[in-house]
Symmetry: D2
Subunit: 136 residues, 4 copies
């Protein structure tokens, strides 16, 4: 499991006094990108015409997070196909499980006609992500 530590910022809370539910999707993405950096790559290769748009994203909420809470996003690789990666996430704050979720991304390329189409994931990428997840 790859671990991404984070603290709740003021702007991430809402009038109910807890983190707005949409921000958990940003926390998951931050952890995903930190995992990529742990493999020595950036998910965004400068000048590249390919990217990783989302196919699906979901989160189940168990306990709220509050301002200045220190929490951890734990990332795993749930599955992968030739063109997609599905990540799993658990968010914990101390001993408390805050919730868990998943996101599936597709490797897509922008073609000269402006269209965005799924393309194969370069060899080795999924292996390196799996190694970074196991090694920590």
């Amino acid at each position: 499991v790859f671990r991404y530590p984070r603290q709740v910022q003021f702007a991430e809370t809402d009038l109910a006094g807890i983190v707005h539910f949409s921000n958990y999707f940003r926390y998951m993405e931050e952890a995903e990108h930190a995992l990529w950096r742990a493999t020595g790559c950036s998910i965004e290769s400068a000048g590249s015409e390919s990217g990783w748009p989302r196919v699906a994203a979901a989160f189940e909420y168990k306990r709220p997070l509050k301002f200045e809470d220190q929490f951890e996003v734990r990332v795993s690789i749930v599955s992968a196909t030739s063109r997609t990666i599905k990540y799993g996430f658990t968010i914990v704050c101390g001993d408390v499980e805050i919730g868990s979720g998943a996101m599936t991304s597709v490797h897509a390329q922008k073609f000269p006609d402006g269209s965005l189409r799924a393309v194969p994931i370069p060899q080795g990428v999924v292996d390196r992500l799996r190694a970074a997840v196991s090694g920590t």
Copy 2:
């Protein structure tokens, strides 16, 4: 189906040139709150100690939205229990389906000891939401 019209704002896009995937959860919430207002209520009763934290939220992405796109969020009531409501959402832009999702909220009350616990949904609330969904 209840319809909530919206236009993509600049700050909602990311460096890939499309709406950031986390913002679809804000679009769904905006549509949910507009549905509540259509019943003559606000989801947040001023001074009330009860609220509607999320239990689950999910979205599946089919096509991207871009800056200034005019789109529509269509809301339905998928199911309800004594304490929870599950909303369904489809986002369309012209004839194109952008994606669809769901959110489940629980009616919760803040008790004097600071704890937040599920409490029954006041009578009539779900009927009024269903009527607002059917009537439009």
Copy 3:
């Protein structure tokens, strides 16, 4: 004065129960872009390599905005040079002045070497913005 009507959304509030101060900058930008559309143009010409990065932005806060408040952003053109436009903004909610601010943008072009440099504003743009501000 150009008027942009808006309602406060839940995700824009923070734990203090009011709109987070950073969101006023998004409200000003939304109003600026609505002003551009009122001239028949978009501030972002598709495929164009030019844009309008900010040089300066400021806001003074008088009264808070709360969830579901209906407010109005009033836009004026404070001044313009050959490469910059300074917009003025006042936000009001009913009879109450919420605050006022200003933003200066520069017309910039992305050059093949990746650099971003100020370039002259195309003729007529400032006149059309001024007309849209006066005509409403």
Copy 4:
């Protein structure tokens, strides 16, 4: 000067490929709150009915920030009155100055009638902030 290190996250960028200008206000706030924590306090005392709403906020932009840039927010105390504190900020990325800004906050209390009024800053607060700024 108090230093707050930070990295640009994907969701903070916009379609121009750079950090959206409104996010600099969130960066300044994050640094302000980190400064408070460095004094051993939180800017939000749990259960307290007082807070620090903004009176004014401004930023001048010199160079853009991009995805994954590592930058630093440098905080200083510009001035203080019996009820307000004005913070100054400079954001740098390596040797490059990204921009600078300021924010003024007022110490306010929520009264039983719902009104929010300025109240004196508790003794020692400004001294502790000044010490944290000098000591680092």
